[in-house]
């Protein structure tokens, strides 16, 4: 039963047997044995063990940043058994087997793959389950008579992966087909390049010693045939791109490449038929291969980012209950329109944005705001697509559907950002196009000049010039440098979507930091206690029943001071208005914020009030304790500032960034934190709503926002570069182009350093290729380049630029 797992929790904290995250004190079951942080984890653990799949725990990657407790969900999956669902999502193989694909939340490591593919052992009737890790989907095949979709979905959910059926996504299918076509082209190009290089080696070796004329001719012919296959087959895409660029008169990288390939192929063909002269097919084949590989790598990266975003679109339910006259009918969510009335039952997600027309319930807003505390909503209040309905069925009049919902808009933002070609790549393309115009001009002049001087060599020299003036360095190096930077960042737990980020971060601008969790530890602790000391054990006894971080801090404080254990309260009432009430015998104890106490009509002792003002001025949050209607104590709660925050901020300012704080916390607290970090008060904004943050961030054109991804999604999406920290990867990456899996500012510093060094590499690559090209063109124009030299120089420039991209050094910046 015992499994090896690195337990990095501080002493005194118990870890959940399933997810290894800390178990809050109220949930600890005395008497030893396995502890769980939530009911969901307990269910998952027992389910896994009951089928003998304990090995899961030895596979699990405890360092994965996306681990999370299973959570308590009451979502039902019975709707998946309906025929309308089956018609859309389930494929019938005709021999009694059915299959469908489910998108899963919460997959984070190889152990999840292992566990999910063992589904046949967990659910009777399932024949096969295959995971697609990159897309977070599970493809299940089952026997129609032995089990139902709802069983499968429920089991998967119990294991901790919330399932959603996959919508028919034409964009994704097109992307897949495109990737396959690219791979086929690369395969052909690679075979051609490899074979051509072998033939070329033979030919080069034959230059220095005698070669039978027949053999040489055959080798040249073979090289020509393979080379033409390469240019006319996989190379066709460049010709098409060039033709399109000419027609629309836009600069595009394909123009110079097509020119080089075309001229080289024609000249080579002519020389093969003539029997003398240089043939260039080896270089052409390798060039085609390198360029295609570069493009493939780049497009795969973009697709991967788009896939992560598509998960967002799947998080709205596929089936909605629409009112039609007197009855309710089940319809696919896509056909819901504005003005329809839909019924949302307990455990279902809202299919669209709207207002409640009947009933009242509590909802889980975590998809949008990160608040997983239940929020009550009643008639007339707004709800959004993706929110979970927790306690009661309600009717909703739809205000917005699909792409117009709040969640749809965030998805659109992210998707459009990642599909655009990064600006720097577009710029490099346009330089390449201008370059080719210059080269053609020089070639024309060269041709004319040599025709006048020595007609025999005129064509050779011009061809050599055109071959040698290869801008492929431009076409390949910039995207490659970006790709290398992004994948290196990923190894350091900095996840980047799209190359734009690196370019934008290389120049200093304004950077807004969130307070809680980024600048502070994110953990509350009691800093001071004023007032009645004897009530402290009772406060701790009361707060043990809450899971709020304030409660934990109060309990920890009492324990740290060695307070004796008090008897548990007779009755406890937790409110989501910011407080908790308990009854001890006949006495009533209230602990909470000032607003909470005021709402209960509690009298405020003047001394306690004065103390609380002092606490606020000191940058901490006051929590009041009242007994029988009168305040008797106040505790100052603070969130300690991270030790690395101040040096990091100083480093940022040294590098030229204007640093500010943007937080939803009380303005006094924010200003105090800013003061201790050396920031001027006008740069420290507190009390901001998510909308305020968006306005703040869009005020300057180049503002970077670092925030808690789930709460600040709108601001992160609106900023020039949004950097999300320390929440679950899925929720953050939806909104922000960058996600740091490590807490604190060190990751931000590394990212900025990486951006600068990547831009330096790109500029270096461009400089090198321009210098090389100028030299080469110059030499060729004067007839000083031997065609053999030309054939060697051309791939040399590409490989040197590629090599320099990989050699970018990445030093960890010390603040």
């Amino acid at each position: 039963m015992s499994t090896e797992r690195a337990n990095q929790l501080p002493a005194g904290e118990t870890s959940c047997a399933h997810c290894a995250l800390p178990v809050p004190d109220p949930r600890i079951v005395p008497g030893g044995g396995d502890q769980f942080c939530c009911h969901g984890c307990e269910t998952a653990y027992r389910l896994i063990r009951s089928c003998g799949l304990d090995a899961y725990y030895s596979f699990v990657d405890t360092d994965s940043p996306t681990r999370a407790p299973v959570g308590d969900t009451e979502v039902t999956y019975d709707e998946l058994d309906r025929s309308s669902f089956a018609a859309r999502y389930v494929r019938d193989h005709g021999d009694g087997r059915l299959s469908c694909t489910l998108a899963l939340e919460g997959m984070h490591c190889a152990a999840c793959v292992w566990l999910l593919e063992k589904l046949p052992r967990l659910v009777e009737g399932v024949i096969e389950a295959r995971v697609d890790w990159a897309r977070s989907t599970l493809h299940v095949t089952w026997c129609a008579e032995s089990c139902r979709v709802s069983q499968i979905a429920r089991t998967v959910a119990e294991l901790g992966y919330r399932p959603h059926p996959v919508h028919e996504d034409t964009a994704q299918a097109r992307g897949d087909a495109h990737a396959r076509r690219q791979l086929v082209q690369i395969g052909i190009a690679a075979a051609a390049a490899g074979n051509n290089m072998l033939i070329a080696t033979a030919l080069y070796l034959g230059m220095f010693s005698a070669m039978e004329a027949g053999v040489e001719e055959m080798l040249r012919l073979a090289s020509c045939v393979v080379g033409l296959v390469s240019v006319a087959g996989p190379g066709r895409v460049f010709m098409q791109g060039a033709r399109a660029a000419l027609r629309t008169r836009t600069p595009h990288m394909d123009l110079p490449i097509a020119l080089g390939l075309g001229v080289g192929a024609i000249a080579g063909l002519v020389n093969t038929l003539r029997g003398v002269g240089e043939i260039y097919f080896d270089t052409l084949s390798v060039l085609v291969l390198l360029l295609l590989v570069g493009r493939y790598v780049q497009s795969r990266q973009q697709h991967r980012a788009a896939d992560a975003v598509r998960l967002l679109k799947r998080l709205t339910p596929p089936i909605a209950h629409k009112r039609a006259g007197e009855r309710w009918v089940d319809v696919p969510s896509e056909i819901i329109e504005v003005g329809d009335v839909v019924e949302v039952r307990v455990g279902e997600a809202f299919p669209a944005d709207g207002r409640i027309t009947q009933g009242k319930t509590t909802v889980d807003q975590s998809i949008l705001t990160g608040e997983s505390r239940p929020i009550p909503v009643a008639v007339g209040e707004e709800v959004s697509a993706g929110m979970l309905n927790l306690s009661a069925g309600v009717s909703v009049r739809v205000d917005a559907v699909g792409a117009n919902t709040r969640i749809g808009k965030v998805a659109e933002l992210v998707e459009s950002a990642s599909s655009r070609r990064p600006a720097i790549v577009q710029w490099a393309d346009s330089i390449g196009a201008k370059f080719v115009v210059v080269v053609i001009a020089i070639a024309a002049v060269t041709l004319a000049a040599w025709l006048a001087l020595d007609p025999a060599v005129a064509v050779d020299h011009t061809v050599a010039l055109l071959i040698v003036a290869c801008p492929c360095a431009l076409g390949l190096a910039t995207p490659l440098a970006l790709s290398v930077a992004v994948s290196r960042a990923a190894k350091r737990r900095i996840l980047i979507k799209g190359g734009d980020v690196l370019q934008r971060l290389s120049r200093p601008g304004t950077i807004w930091l969130d307070k809680t969790g980024t600048l502070t530890m994110g953990r509350m602790s009691v800093v001071q206690w004023h007032g009645d000391l004897e009530v402290r054990p009772q406060v701790a006894a009361l707060e043990r029943h809450a899971t709020h971080p304030v409660a934990r801090a109060l309990v920890a404080f009492a324990e740290a001071n060695g307070d004796a254990m008090a008897a548990a309260p007779d009755a406890v009432e937790q409110s989501d208005q910011g407080g908790i009430v308990g009854r001890f015998g006949v006495r009533e104890l209230v602990v909470g914020s000032r607003r909470f106490l005021a709402s209960r009509g509690t009298a405020m002792d003047s001394d306690i009030l004065a103390r609380s003002e002092a606490i606020l001025a000191g940058g901490h949050a006051p929590v009041f304790v009242a007994r029988d209607g009168v305040t008797i104590a106040v505790a100052a709660l603070g969130d300690p500032i991270r030790p690395d925050a101040k040096p990091a901020i100083e480093r940022l300012r040294r590098d030229g960034w204007v640093v500010g704080i943007a937080s939803g916390d009380h303005p006094d607290i924010v200003r105090e934190v800013g003061r201790s970090l050396g920031l001027p008060p006008e740069q420290c904004h507190g009390g901001l709503t998510p909308q305020d943050k968006v306005e703040l961030v869009t005020r300057d054109r180049a503002a970077v926002m670092v925030g808690d991804g789930v709460n600040d999604s709108a601001a992160l999406a609106a900023a020039s570069v949004g950097i999300a920290t320390h929440e679950g990867a899925e929720a953050s990456l939806r909104a922000a182009p960058v996600y740091l899996a490590r807490p604190g500012l060190q990751g931000v510093l590394e990212l900025l350093a990486a951006s600068r060094s990547t831009m330096r590499t790109i500029r270096r690559n461009l400089a090198v290729s321009l210098v090389y090209n100028s030299l080469a063109v110059g030499l060729a124009a004067f007839g000083l380049i031997n065609p053999l030299v030309a054939a060697v120089l051309m791939p040399l420039s590409s490989t040197s630029v590629v090599g320099s991209s990989f050699l970018t050094r990445w030093r960890s910046p010390t603040p």
Binding site: A110, V113, E124, D132, A134, S146
Partner: protein, 54 residues
């Protein structure tokens, strides 16, 4: 006569066969998912066959 006259065309034909096999593999979806197989490497289980709980 150089053996190359025979060897070279054969080599090219073999290469073409390899390309053909590769293209077939791509078209039947073998290369669609390059990430999950990397995760499966660590598993040493034999069978997934058979439903039923213990």
């Amino acid at each position: 006569m150089s053996v190359l006259f025979i060897a070279l065309p054969i080599a090219l034909v073999l290469g073409a066969i390899a390309v053909f096999a590769f293209v077939k593999a791509v078209r039947t979806g073998q290369f669609d998912d390059l990430d999950t197989p990397a995760a499966r490497v660590v598993f040493d289980d034999a069978d997934i066959a058979g439903p039923g709980r213990h």
